[in-house]
Symmetry: C2
Subunit: 162 residues, 2 copies
């Protein structure tokens, strides 16, 4: 039953999670939007932690920060979205831009400029996912996301230097 | 990266969904518990609908009610939990008992009799999942779950005759 893939299952549940974060009277107005984003980001963070904690014990340690980021682009993205990110850029000073030209959670949305304001709801979980995974790998960071043209988006990871 | 399987991802997100349904002051007391269960069941219902709608168009129609139930035990359980149910019983009058002796969402819980009261929180989504999948396949039902000995549980599906 290939159409009932786990990837679909995860995406369907994510869609319900976003809807629930903004349903039932919560999430109206700017304050509600921020509260919903915080909830979603927190859920993503803890799922990211859980994934990182389940890495095989024998997994090779990441020697450099860039190795860890590449792990996110390749392995984390692969496990969650079934593909790799399309591009990775860095200023070599602790800031990384992960670009996905066809981000799964955005392709489900109706297209059109008027939906751009809805986009943050569909990015917050993944921001948390990146931050939580990195945290469990020993790297504290802040992660934000931006959309310029649906369904492409960029995640900006800024490493917090100790 | 086998340890980052999609199945794990889905389970981690489900855990967060349950926690969110009972977090932030919601879900205290009997009324809160019921409200949380309703939210979780509704999310499961819509995910089940989504999965059923993604079935291949060429999928063979189910000739009999029992065929549809067997599809749940084999294919739906396979897609969501990576295995089949352990047992299926029926009274041949529209009631079906699906048994899982090692239900994934319960194995994550701490074991012990004192946690039995927590169990419904980890079953509500799947009750909805079964009901939503059946609904999209043209069968209206009510679905309840019970636990006698963790981590085994039974889902009772009662078909609503037209």
């Amino acid at each position: 039953m290939p159409a009932m893939a786990d990837e679909t299952l995860f995406q369907l549940l994510h869609t319900q999670v976003v809807a629930a974060a903004y349903g039932a009277g919560r999430g109206s107005g700017d304050e509600g939007l921020r509260a919903g984003l915080t909830v979603l980001e927190g859920m993503g963070f803890r799922v990211g932690q859980g994934l990182a904690e389940r890495l095989p014990r024998g997994a090779p340690a990441f020697r450099e920060e860039l190795d860890t980021i590449k792990f996110l682009c390749r392995d984390l993205w692969g496990a969650v979205f079934g593909k790799q990110t399309d591009n990775l850029r860095t200023n070599h000073q602790g800031t990384y831009i992960l670009q996905d030209n066809n981000f799964s959670f955005l392709t489900q949305m109706a297209w059109g400029q008027q939906y751009l304001e809805e986009a943050p709801k569909f990015l917050a979980f993944t921001c948390g996912l990146l931050r939580g995974t990195l945290s469990s790998l020993g790297i504290e960071s802040s992660v934000t996301a931006s959309v310029t043209s649906l369904p492409a988006c960029k995640f900006q990871v800024v490493i917090q230097k100790a």
